[in-house]
């Protein structure tokens, strides 16, 4: 509860900070402080130190897993602001409002990590998405940003419609918005009847959640929106928001996957393969690094979907680790991307010479995204695949995933090639030493998690 309340309050605080001060760096500073407070509040909540408790009438359920996940998201947001705060300031004239919207999004993610019922799921998702429509269109003069915003809005609303239809059907079958389905009574023939409405509802919910986490074939908004949105906000959207979406997806179907019977695995396999295929293959031919990252985020989603495929302990730990690894690497790499003016691959040519620190960090992030061992990304993928194998699922899907992982190396390493092996004179925005320190620390963190993933996972059990 702390996180929801504090993030809402902090959002309001940010709104007013824009009135009080004109200095943008001060606003960023306030945001950082606010995020620290938010994080502290959430951690305090996790260990029950001082938590505000309100009778939620069972609409919210605060599990340790959820709270921990929320801490991760808030930490990621903190790192995001630390690294890219200056870039947020540069998007437009409304830095304070952008931060306010970011906090409202965090409010939405906090709800999504603790929802217990379809109503809160719906509200959480809406609270999370509506500010994003605005953030996407924040660069008002930029037609791409406009377009992305409009596309995102139309498609997002459409998927909301689909989701609501799913909720309505589920409600029709269950008579409540609870996540769990009352046990069906066997009919006279002794067969437990399949509730068709329920199944229809959950299929539609599945679809709309797939849309939110940009799983193919419901991913189409992702490349365009991520590409069009201001780069900083793309970093935010593709990491924190997406991870929260995954968490909600996971919780939503934890109890209900069995309802769909064998078709659940078939659909999921279809989605996973399609996601991996489209994400990885399409990324190969991209000319813009930013757009490539959009596709790569689709590909990463394909891997995260394995957690849904299996639903065992490893998968749970895995999605946690995946969220950490993916968020850190993506935020880190976007922080580098923001500094480079030309977002095409050629824009990176010779970066290693011009900015060795930046280039090194970028390499670490890209390797983590590609899942090279001794980076966090490796263990993320490792857990996912291990979960599948442990569940005794089809082994071939693991092999397919690995083949795509190998393909992913292709486009990630293209950036490394540009930075290290090609000569050029990249246009770079000024890089402060504080920023350098921060980004190196983040990259070292990525490596540290890659060497000892238990530093993330043990907290979970602590």
């Amino acid at each position: 509860m702390n996180a929801i309340i504090f993030s809402a309050i902090m959002g309001v605080v940010m709104m007013f900070s824009g009135i009080i001060t004109e200095k943008k760096s001060a606003i960023s500073f306030v945001a950082v402080v606010a995020l620290f407070i938010l994080l502290a509040a959430n951690i305090a909540n996790t260990y029950g130190l001082c938590s505000i408790s309100i009778n939620t009438h069972d609409l919210l359920h605060f599990s340790k897993f959820g709270l921990y996940f929320n801490s991760i998201l808030i930490t990621a947001a903190l790192i995001f602001v630390l690294l890219s705060g200056s870039a947020v300031e540069k998007v437009g004239n409304y830095a304070a409002d952008y931060y306010a919207l970011i906090f409202f999004v965090l409010c939405g993610t906090s709800i999504l990590t603790s929802f217990n019922g379809l109503l809160m799921l719906f509200l959480g998702i809406e609270i999370m998405t509506i500010p994003l429509y605005i953030l996407t269109g924040a660069d008002k003069k930029n037609l791409k940003s406009n377009e992305a915003s409009l596309k995102y809005f139309l498609m997002g609303s459409f998927s909301t419609g689909i989701m609501l239809m799913g909720i309505a059907l589920v409600y029709g079958a269950n008579g409540s918005f609870a996540l769990t389905t009352p046990a069906a009574v066997p009919n006279s023939a002794g067969v437990i009847p399949v509730s068709f409405l329920l199944v229809g509802g959950y299929i539609l919910l599945f679809v709309s959640m797939c849309f939110k986490v940009s799983a193919a074939p419901f991913h189409f908004w992702t490349p365009d929106v991520y590409d069009g949105a201001p780069t900083v906000f793309t970093a935010f959207m593709s990491t924190i928001v997406k991870a929260a979406g995954f968490f909600a997806f996971l919780v939503l179907f934890e109890a209900n996957a069995t309802l769909l019977g064998p078709s659940w695995k078939i659909m999921l396999t279809f989605v996973i393969i399609a996601t991996l295929l489209i994400g990885n293959i399409t990324a190969v031919f991209q000319q813009s690094v930013k757009r490539m990252l959009a596709y790569s985020s689709i590909a990463q989603a394909g891997f995260m979907l394995f957690a849904l495929y299996t639903y065992n302990d490893l998968a749970k730990e895995g999605i946690l680790l995946y969220a950490v690894a993916y968020c850190l690497a993506t935020i880190g790499f976007f922080a580098v991307l923001v500094k480079v003016k030309d977002h095409s691959f050629d824009g990176f040519n010779g970066l290693a010479k011009a900015q060795p620190v930046l280039a090194f960090s970028a390499v670490v992030f890209l390797m983590s995204l590609a899942g090279i061992p001794l980076t966090a990304g490796f263990f993320a993928k490792y857990y996912m695949l291990a979960a599948v194998i442990k569940s005794g699922g089809s082994f071939w899907i693991v092999l397919v995933a690995l083949v795509f992982a190998a393909i992913s190396v292709y486009y990630y390493f293209k950036v490394i090639q540009a930075m290290y092996f090609k000569s050029g004179d990249p246009e770079i925005m000024e890089v402060s030493s504080g920023y350098k320190t921060a980004i190196v620390l983040v990259s070292l963190l990525v490596i540290a998690i890659g060497v000892l993933p238990s530093i993330v996972l043990n907290w979970f059990y602590f």
């Binding site: 929801i4 952008y98 809160m120 509506i130 500010p131 068709f196 229809g200």
Partner: protein, 167 residues
């Protein structure tokens, strides 16, 4: 066929006809008007189901506020004469086909749903739709989402300001 059924079918036909007309109207203004007709029909349904509060809210919020907003925007843009060229006919065709498929699939799903046979929606009776009863539940059990939706409005407000303000 009793009155209720007649009313039901009348409202349904009206709603569907109006909805189709929303699609077929060349002029956006006409579309808005047809959509308002749909809302009215749906409000009629609400009343039929004795959900008076929602019927009123629907009229006030949707037909009253939202649609007026739409109209304003349309008029602001002066989109009256905007005729769509027929160039993308295949897209329309595919859209209709796939929408139809969607409908067919879901209808066949409901047809198979044996658990629904014989079930009736309570018409005219039941008082849960009254303002008093709804308000009681809203401000006790559902106070949390009610409060949280303020965040939603807040963000929408901020958003509208950020987007709408001229730099």
């Amino acid at each position: 066929m009793n009155t209720v059924q007649i009313l039901f079918f009348f409202l349904s036909v009206l709603a569907i006809f109006s909805a189709v007309m929303v699609l077929f109207s060349k002029s956006p203004v006409h579309s808005v008007l047809w959509l308002i007709a749909v809302f009215f029909a749906i409000s009629g349904h609400y009343i039929l189901l004795n959900a008076q509060f929602l019927a009123i809210v629907n009229l006030i919020v949707y037909a009253g506020a939202i649609m007026v907003l739409f109209l304003f925007v349309i008029m602001l843009m002066n989109l009256n004469a905007n005729a769509e060229p027929k160039k993308y006919w295949w897209m329309k065709f595919a859209g209709v086909i796939s929408g139809g498929c969607f409908l067919v699939v879901l209808v066949s799903l409901v047809q198979q749903a044996t658990e629904l046979t014989g079930k009736q929606a309570l018409v005219k009776e039941g008082n849960i739709g009254l303002i008093k009863n709804l308000g009681k539940v809203l401000f006790s059990d559902f106070v949390l989402p009610f409060e949280i939706s303020s965040v939603l409005f807040l963000s929408a407000m901020v958003g509208a300001v950020v987007i709408g303000k001229k730099d």
